[in-house]
């Protein structure tokens, strides 16, 4: 990484390179999957999917071995009787919610999450949420959103969830007019990363700040016309729109991945809040140096290695920018499930044009493309990793990038390490 990064950021984002759209078979999780990290973040919330056995099985498979406690998510599985109209779906849903709430009295927010089946049969969960809300008002807050695979791809589930939280935060809770924060950081981050950012913003004198989602359901921030928003995750198109709708200003910045990304992300806020360059340097110098040092160790292992991205988390472009600019990797191909040119403007400005960049992607042709490229590393969904390994292609599951703390200065080295480990492993194995 060069010292010229701050200058680079000022370059106009108008030269956004064209991205090819390819349609075809997709192999990406649906938005329900985001429940797996959202329920850990919002600690007094319960996520009730209204769907099929498939939805229940997906959640369980994606959550993997985390079945140690009774989970804070479940599925109301539609049965033949519900579909044949022998049972009234709304009555059934009320019954299931009753059952759930009586067993889990500590739940403060209940998300009703729509799925493909509930949407195809046009079960109106917004309606159900307001009905249930009036019945349980004062005790539980009801929020409905869609995580269905016909509407959302993987991380977009979080976008839908946060959008709904923003929209429903419009009405003041319990009559008390909550102060809207100066800065909202939108997008789930792990607690440790949040705490690091909170310290940095405190030192910069920016505040009060709030995180969206908050750790508890009743602490969700409400934006006002004085509010600025920094997106911590790139998949929040609708959330950003909803926040804008409340008068907030969404700052344009690359995402806080790597030393450079973290610096520019903070800088966007610092500039907006009129923090002096000296103060900014003072606060960021030490963590920036640490981040560069940590990434530097990994760069030695990653330099010149060729990497390809299959579509999965929507973090593809940000990761590619980090790996290319800070780790000296050669990005061969990027496929992202969904591309928002506005949100990605700063990333594109840094990363520049790329001839092999695709939105959507057809599974078979993308796999063939990777086979032809034979990169040193392929970032891909969980179901595809082992088959690629078996073909002698090293892989990195992108879901790990969603679950691990990777944002911010002090995680930059870890982030690079996630990519160097498979390569180191392959180099060491003699069998």
């Amino acid at each position: 990484m060069t010292e010229a990064v701050l200058a680079t950021d000022n370059r106009a984002a108008s030269t956004a390179p064209a991205i090819t759209v390819e349609r075809g078979q997709r192999a990406v999780f649906c938005g329900l999957t985001s429940i797996v990290w959202l329920h850990r973040k919002i600690q007094d919330a319960f996520f009730l999917v209204v769907g099929s056995r498939t939805c229940a099985h997906l959640l369980q498979s994606a959550a993997g071995v985390m079945i140690f406690a009774e989970p804070r998510f479940a599925t109301a599985i539609l049965q033949d009787r519900d579909l044949a109209g022998m049972a009234d779906c709304h009555e059934e849903l009320d019954r299931v919610v009753e059952e759930l709430l009586s067993r889990r009295p500590e739940i403060k927010t209940l998300f009703l999450v729509g799925s493909c089946p509930s949407e195809v049969i046009k079960l109106d969960l917004n309606n159900a949420a307001s009905r249930l809300q009036s019945r349980h008002s004062g005790r539980v807050r009801m929020v409905a959103y869609s995580g269905s695979g016909i509407e959302t791809t993987f991380t977009q589930g979080e976008d839908k969830c946060l959008t709904e939280l923003v929209e429903s935060a419009r009405a003041p809770v319990n009559g008390s007019q909550k102060e809207s924060p100066a800065l909202i950081i939108a997008g789930t981050l792990s607690d440790i990363v949040e705490d690091q950012f909170q310290r940095l913003f405190d030192e910069l004198g920016i505040g009060p700040i709030a995180f969206l989602p908050a750790r508890s359901g009743d602490a969700m921030p409400r934006a006002g016309s004085n509010t600025r928003v920094l997106l911590a995750q790139p998949y929040l198109t609708e959330t950003a729109q909803a926040l804008r709708g409340q008068g907030a200003k969404v700052l344009n910045a690359p995402f806080p991945l790597g030393a450079e990304g973290s610096l520019l992300w903070l800088k966007a806020a610092a500039d907006e809040f009129g923090v002096s360059d000296e103060r900014f340097e003072e606060v960021t110098a030490a963590p920036l140096a640490r981040a560069r040092q940590a990434v530097g160790y990994q760069r030695e292992k990653l330099r010149g290695k060729r990497i390809a991205f299959l579509p999965d988390s929507q973090l593809e472009l940000s990761l590619a920018r980090f790996l290319a600019r800070e780790c000296d990797m050669n990005v061969e191909s990027i496929t992202t499930p969904f591309h928002d040119p506005q949100i990605m403007a700063s990333e594109l400005a840094l990363f520049g044009e790329h001839p092999d960049m695709i939105e959507g992607g057809d599974l078979e042709s993308r796999l063939d493309h990777v086979r032809a490229l034979r990169p040193d590393l392929t970032v891909c969904g969980m179901g595809i990793a082992n088959p690629l390994e078996a073909e002698g292609l090293r892989s990195k599951w992108s879901i790990e990038l969603i679950f691990s703390p990777i944002q911010g200065f002090d995680q930059a080295g870890d982030l690079a390490g996630l990519f160097s480990r498979p390569l180191a492993r392959a180099a060491q194995l003699e069998v």
Binding site: T54, E70, P387
Partner: protein
């Protein structure tokens, strides 16, 4: 609607993928939204397969619904056939596609494909994974063989091979230890002079299925999956079904006898073939006597495990059940023979409640029960799907046949010994070598802390706190000291019996006398 936290089985179409993935030359076209492609990871991550399952998902989206999803189905079918060149194309709906009623099966059948199409009906809102697997396998067998069914009254074709042969039906991808069971049972049959004609669906091709009628009989190795196909073959090709599932020494001997009888060959079971009988009789197994076990899983493995526990290890089966309503009958019958009522439920919380009430000393179950047991501090061995990646071991570890019995002996007794280690640690933790933080080695990774300050009455057995019994009862100091003197491996039982006795007799404070009165009462 049914509230579900964890499910024992996936939807029926996952069963269909299991069949496609078991075989060679079969491809499944699944009309499904993108999210349903999570199923890939069951195979590539849990079973560690080195290839994607042979499935093409149509991945329709909301924007397709308004227009023509049928068109999308046809496009996907042609793309899949061109790309994968299967010998047979299975076509089915996922739960969402079932609602939009595109009938992909008939679309495919009438689209002039060069490959045979077998439509499968999935009934996603009333059925589950094992049923889906059984139905898919049956549809394939019938689809491929229905034109070859001999006319009623016609003679069976003469045997092409002098050696008697059977088909092994049911082993499948993501099944429990199927890969190793096939090898073990094949060896067992070969030792009897019986040849395996076709093993299916695991590793079979559609061409192999065409050869099914050449065998003298079908071995229904996993009834959940092979039951409907065996029945159909029996009805149409007059092939008898060998029904004994050879899990455990007794069942393996019966299996050998049934094969011999069905095929009209002489064979006496080899009584030396498994180490289980001798290990079970050897004196250091005495401590296994009467161990209270709870058994839960699919029907096949539950019934087999209960029998082994009772007859071959001299455990006391205190509860058993299955998540499979379709196969509940055999479990109910087996339970009745042990004087129990079977628990038929796919509600994980209900299973957990029953286990914590019964306070078994060993749980034999699925990965779900493994987690329940871990939480309750009870040793556990996995005997059935659903299973986790660690239940697809690298080493040879069948459940069937004589070697399977050896494996079962080891894998059930080992956690009990680990449990003993835990008790030993608890017992000796006041000794100077041990500190309060000492943990049993097998639990160290789970971060379970030893309850360091707990008195003897609370550490004597696990899960006691849940009963509520201890709440009204107190132990006086002398009784508690006396309880501590009782060897740790029976202390839990002594405590339980004493408290039950006290409760039954209206005693609130347990004294030394109460302890011995209870001992006398229960030593009948």
């Amino acid at each position: 609607m049914e509230l579900s936290l964890w499910t024992y089985e996936g939807p029926p179409h996952v069963g269909a993928i299991r069949i496609a993935n078991s075989m060679r030359g079969v491809h499944l076209l699944l009309h499904a939204p993108q999210g349903d492609s999570y199923a890939d990871l069951l195979f590539t991550m849990i079973e560690r397969d080195n290839h994607r399952p042979p499935v093409t998902y149509t991945t329709f989206q909301a924007r397709d619904l308004g227009s023509d999803t049928a068109e999308l189905v046809l496009r996907s079918i042609h793309a899949a056939v061109e790309k994968h060149k299967p010998q047979v194309l299975l076509v089915g709906d996922s739960c969402t596609a079932e609602l939009i009623q595109d009938q992909p099966g008939s679309l495919a059948s009438s689209s002039g494909l060069s490959v045979p199409v077998v439509p499968v009906e999935m009934l996603a809102y009333s059925r589950k994974e094992n049923w889906g697997a059984g139905e898919t396998f049956y549809s394939l067998v019938r689809g491929l063989l229905q034109n070859r069914v001999p006319a009623p009254g016609s003679e069976a074709p003469p045997r092409t091979n002098e050696q008697p042969s059977v088909n092994l039906l049911g082993p499948s991808s993501l099944g429990f230890r199927c890969r190793d069971d096939v090898r073990e049972v094949t060896q067992l049959l070969n030792d009897m002079g019986v040849r395996v004609n076709v093993c299916a669906p695991l590793n079979a091709s559609p061409h192999d299925l065409l050869r099914l009628p050449e065998a003298d009989a079908n071995v229904c190795l996993y009834p959940e999956i092979a039951g409907p196909a065996c029945d159909w073959l029996h009805r149409n090709f007059k092939q008898p079904t060998i029904k004994t599932v050879p899990i455990g020494v007794g069942a393996t001997r019966e299996f050998v006898a049934e094969v011999a009888k069905t095929l009209g060959i002489d064979h006496t079971p080899d009584s030396e073939a498994s180490r289980l009988p001798w290990y079970s009789r050897s004196v250091d197994s005495t401590y296994l006597t009467g161990k209270r076990v709870f058994v839960f899983g699919d029907a096949t493995h539950t019934v087999a495990a209960a029998r082994i526990a009772h007859e071959e290890l001299a455990f006391e089966v205190v509860g058993m059940g299955t998540y499979s309503r379709e196969q509940a009958r055999s479990v109910r019958e087996a339970a009745k023979e042990l004087g129990l009522e079977a628990l038929i439920s796919d509600d994980y919380l209900e299973v957990e409640r029953v286990i914590s009430e019964l306070q078994p000393e060993l749980v034999l179950g699925t990965q779900m029960e493994r987690h329940i047991a871990k939480r309750l501090g009870v040793p556990c061995a996995v005997i059935s799907t659903p299973a986790h990646v660690q239940d697809y071991p690298a080493r040879y570890s069948p459940q069937m046949g004589y070697e399977g019995a050896n494996v079962i002996f080891d894998s059930w007794v080992h956690p009990l010994m680990m449990g003993l280690e835990e008790h030993l640690l608890a017992m000796f933790r006041d000794d100077f070598e041990f500190n309060d933080g000492a943990q049993p080695s097998h639990l160290a990774a789970e971060g379970v802390s030893t309850r360091s300050e707990a008195p003897a009455v609370n550490d004597a057995s696990h899960g006691e706190d849940d009963t509520g019994a201890s709440a009204e009862l107190t132990w006086d100091l002398n009784a508690e000291r006396e309880l501590r003197k009782i060897p740790f491996f029976v202390r839990g039982k002594a405590k339980r019996n004493t408290e039950r006795f006290a409760a039954d007799n209206g005693v609130n404070v347990i004294k030394v006398d109460t302890l011995y009165e209870a001992k006398a009462h229960y030593s009948r």
